[in-house]
Every structure is written in structure tokens, then in C-alpha cells.
């Protein structure tokens, strides 16, 4: 490594390298320890279970490979999601780790993902007078259709490519937003 990094990060970086050639389930702590050049025990100290490793790896991949483009308006949001789905499609092994990590029983103090907060902030601005229940319904729907899970389900279960997944996303999000009265949306 050119730059000194802490052990926890070095483990994740090595796990990401191994992910290029094998599935997450086939990455043993032994192989990971050899790759990093540390003892297996050190890995257990950092990541006591594979669920901990999966969650941390997913966060690291998210930050380094799939940074979310900032968005303020709904149309920026849709553009950002399209970009993300195309990035997932270009690195499917990494994207599946994200989808999987978002499905497991939370390990520690899991905070909502950044995209969740960004969607809520977007709705605060775009629909300031919207009642709380409808706001949460919309936020949850947008969040769920923009997730790595949506991408993974459509890729594995429907055999769709990135373009088709973006199209399915637009067609799902459109009716969700259309459920609210026109007057909901703040005029620019």
C-alpha cells in the first residue's frame, strides 16, 4: 500500500480486491488475513462475525465506488439514481454486496443511509406543506425503488440491464409522485 491506512480499512480494501474473483461467501477470514498480511485473529477483533464484515464492506464500497451524486430536486434525484444503477451494472459484485448488506439483521448502531436523509431533505423543500404520513409514504417508496435491492431484484429476477432498470424505476416513481395533488409541489 502506498498510503498508510488503518487495519480496519486495509481489511476492507483487501476484501474488495478478493471480491473481484470470488463471491463474498467464498472469502474466508484465513484468505483475507493472508491478503492483508495480518493474523486471522486481528480480523476477528475488527469484525467479530461475517455480518459485521459485510456491513462494513458495503459501507466502504458505497463510499469509494458508488458515491451518491448530490440532488436537490426530484429530477436531479432521478438522474442520480440512474447514474447509480449504471455504476451498479458496471460492478455487479460490489452492488450485490450492498444489496445483501441492506437486507441483513442490523449489526450495531445502523444509521439510515445517506440517500434516505437526502430524499427526506428533498421532500422537505419540494413539498413543504405535505402531511407527515404522506411524506413518509413517498419518501419510503422513493427510497425503496432507488435501492441496490431494486437493482439486484431486477437484474437477477428479471434479467434486466441498467437501461431497462432505469426505465422501470422511472415508471415506478412517476405514479408515486402523481398520487399527490399538484398543489403539493412548491413552485420554484
Amino acid at each position: 500500500m502506498e498510503e498508510p491506512v488503518d487495519t480496519a480499512t486495509a481489511i476492507l480494501a483487501s476484501a474488495a480486491v478478493l471480491l473481484r474473483e470470488r463471491a463474498f461467501d467464498d472469502i474466508s477470514y484465513r484468505a483475507l488475513a493472508d491478503e492483508v498480511g495480518i493474523s486471522e485473529r486481528t480480523i476477528y477483533r475488527q469484525y467479530p462475525t461475517r455480518a459485521h464484515l459485510l456491513a462494513a464492506l458495503s459501507n466502504w464500497i458505497e463510499q469509494t465506488c458508488f458515491p451518491l451524486p448530490p440532488f436537490v430536486t426530484v429530477s436531479d434525484f432521478c438522474t442520480a439514481v440512474h447514474e447509480r444503477f449504471r455504476a451498479f451494472d458496471a460492478s455487479p459484485a460490489y452492488a450485490y454486496v450492498g444489496a445483501r448488506a441492506s437486507a441483513i439483521s442490523p449489526t450495531l448502531d445502523t444509521e439510515p443511509a445517506y440517500i434516505t436523509r437526502a430524499i427526506e431533505a428533498m421532500l422537505d423543500v419540494a413539498a413543504p406543506t405535505l402531511n407527515r404520513r404522506d411524506r413518509r409514504r413517498v419518501a419510503a417508496s422513493l427510497r425503496h425503488f432507488s435501492s441496490a435491492m431494486f437493482w439486484a431484484r431486477l437484474r437477477t429476477g428479471f434479467d434486466l440491464d441498467a437501461g431497462e432498470i432505469c426505465d422501470a424505476f422511472d415508471r415506478a416513481v412517476g405514479p408515486v409522485l402523481a398520487r399527490l395533488p399538484d398543489a403539493t409541489w412548491a413552485k420554484p
Binding site: I104, T116, R136, M149, F158
Partner: protein
């Protein structure tokens, strides 16, 4: 997933293994359960577990499919417009068994090596084709994909984890989103 998902016929021994593992997941989590403990709970020899499920992944995927088909089974819908009701029920069922819900959600997100992520797809297609046959290919695909996604345990996991919703709110938001998806085809049923 609506109605009966296709489950391969299981032997009595296999059912005992899957039921034992399911109980143990709820008690201990999916990580800490050895084959020996599963065998003891099922009242069989440890090598019988190995013979039926040679690897951990085999066992986990079979268990997730079994949970989905039994504990999380839902009433069959007779109309695509009943799907939001089925989704509402499903969310309540997931909420009652959170550990199992996470296991089923996770195994469906493993790509080609995992569980089928949209077991209810064929059923949704049947209903949609019978009632709203006039959709073009992209519209049809989008409706099926969106409903499949909402009609999954991933919805429960996401709404709970990302928004801290409780059982009622999850069921409400998931059914609401499904109604939104149906808005685009509500008045297009074949006469």
C-alpha cells in the same frame, strides 16, 4: 410469492431439519447454529443433515425457501388489484418474525447463487395478463417489477431500518405504494 410459491417436495427428514434450523435462527441468529445443534433439535444424526444439505449455503437457501412457502405464505390473490391487500398482510407477517424476515431478505440478494428474488413473478404476470392485456411490453414489465419489489420482505426490512417504521406504518406505506403502481392501469381492464 403470492399464492403458493414453487417449493420442491421435501422429505419428512428435510422438513424436520428446516423447521429445526428455523427455530434455532429465531433463538440464536443464523450465524451461531452448528449442524450438531440442528441435528439434536431435529432428533436425527448429524451426518443426516450433511447428507441432505452438504453446505451451509445449501441449508440456508432451502430454509429461506421453506420459510417463505410456509410461515410467510399468503392467501392467493384473484386480481392484480388485490395485491396491495396481500402486501399489507405479508408485511404484518414479516413483522411478527423479524429474524426470519432478515434471513429471507438476505438470501434473495445474493445474485445468481442465491434464492430467486421474485418468486411471485409468474403469478403477477398471470393476473395482469388476464385483466389488463393491453399493456405494451415495457409497461407490463414495469408494473410487474414494481409490484414484485414491493411484495417482498426487502420492503419490510427497508422501511423498518431506514425509516424506523412500526408494523402498521410499514403495512400502510407498502400497500400505498402498490396502489400508486396500480394507478397507471386502474381503468384499463379488459371489458
Amino acid at each position: 410469492m403470492t399464492g403458493s410459491a414453487a417449493v420442491p417436495a421435501l422429505t419428512g427428514t428435510q422438513q424436520a431439519i428446516l423447521a429445526a434450523y428455523t427455530e434455532l435462527i429465531e433463538e440464536l441468529g443464523s450465524d451461531d447454529v452448528s449442524n450438531r445443534v440442528i441435528a439434536r433439535r431435529a432428533g436425527i444424526a448429524e451426518r443426516t443433515v450433511f447428507r441432505n444439505y452438504p453446505t451451509r449455503v445449501d441449508l440456508l437457501l432451502a430454509t429461506a425457501a421453506w420459510i417463505e412457502a410456509t410461515l410467510f405464505a399468503r392467501e392467493e390473490s384473484h386480481s392484480i388489484f388485490d395485491i396491495p391487500l396481500a402486501i399489507r398482510d405479508a408485511m404484518q407477517r414479516y413483522d411478527a418474525r423479524p429474524e426470519l424476515a432478515h434471513v429471507v431478505a438476505e438470501t434473495a440478494m445474493r445474485g445468481a447463487n442465491g434464492a430467486a428474488p421474485s418468486p411471485g413473478r409468474a403469478q403477477l404476470e398471470r393476473l395482469l395478463d388476464a385483466e389488463v392485456p393491453s399493456l405494451d411490453a415495457a409497461q407490463r414489465r414495469a408494473v410487474i417489477a414494481a409490484l414484485s419489489h414491493l411484495d417482498s420482505v426487502g420492503t419490510w426490512v427497508t422501511f423498518r431500518r431506514e425509516f424506523g417504521m412500526d408494523r402498521r406504518d410499514i403495512a400502510d406505506a407498502a400497500a400505498w405504494a402498490a396502489e400508486a403502481v396500480l394507478d397507471s392501469i386502474r381503468d384499463r381492464v379488459a371489458p
